[in-house]
């Protein structure tokens, strides 16, 4: 089974949120682990690099971890899978972008 069609977009925007908030994958993983994340740090690292596919629930938990971690920051949010239009592929700036 290959990547879910929304997965690359979701990963790209999670990465963008992490970069903007200057949080490393290790810190994200610990928070994600703290809200019930089931996948190890190594796998999360691999996912962030596009080397590994993660189930939708785990991807959404990672997004939630990022959003809770940066709740006070002004940077971009990490999207959940149901917020990504599966038909829209790699459009850099989707309409109604959250960049305010």
């Amino acid at each position: 089974m290959g990547f879910d069609s929304s997965e690359p977009e979701q990963r790209r925007r999670l990465q963008a949120a992490l970069t903007a908030a200057q949080v490393n994958t290790g810190d994200l993983w610990l928070y994600y682990f703290g809200i019930g994340g089931a996948v190890g740090e190594y796998e999360v690292e691999a996912y962030m690099q596009g080397l590994l596919s993660l189930p939708q629930l785990q991807r959404d938990l990672l997004a939630m971890a990022a959003n809770e971690l940066f709740a006070d920051a002004d940077g971009p949010r990490a999207p959940y899978s149901d917020e990504i239009d599966a038909g829209e592929v790699e459009d850099e700036d989707p309409p109604g972008s959250e960049q305010a």
């Binding site: 610990l30 703290g34 809200i35």
Partner: protein, 246 residues
Amino acid sequence: MIKKYPLDELSTALGRIMGVLLTEEKVDHAVHSLARAVRDALPGSIGAGVSILNPHALPVSSGSTDSVVERADALQYQFVQGPCLTAWATQESVLIRDVATDGRWPNWSTAVVDLPIRSVVSTPLISGGEAIGAMKIYADTPDVFEDATTALMELFAAPAATLLSHIQTAEIPERISESLQSALYSRDLINRACGVIMERHTLTEDQALQQLMREARASRSTLSEVSAALLGVAIDRPRGTSDGLR
């Protein structure tokens, strides 16, 4: 689906990830042994000390052979001047032939005038191009040390710095344990809330977690907040329980 790990094992695993396996106790032990070895190896010295400094020139860990060294060290940090701080900041060894006549650190020299300290060599501990601290030897008479002593100290400092460089700050293991405890607490809270939802709505664990996530998003709360509300408990880890886990 989620394995339960003992806290110790997780702490160790995280410590390994972050490259800080040494506990504060071991660090202190290491700098003390090093200080003793340096004093014994260098003829004429009556005391030695090793300090690891953070980027703000504050000691995070230090070891010394006697209270004179400790006192002289404390005075350096108090006045923010002295041979060790200079050695650390310039990454060059410092040789003082006579503290009484050397004018480079006037406040410090005046303050240590009553201590049996006349000759000093201080050498930076450099690892990966970065000074992580300094080690020094003292003698109670002038002109005890010479350039050869400095060279010997530098010989010592190289492997010592490599060994000690694994310790960025002595507090990291404790901080890991602190954040780990709060991660484990919230994880447990959320898992319990999932259990309640599974029971109430005959859902699978994943479905229960998805429902909690939907509720958190809809109410703009965190997953922990939603879980705590569902369980009717406080969101914060109760204080006072942490001591037992250290």
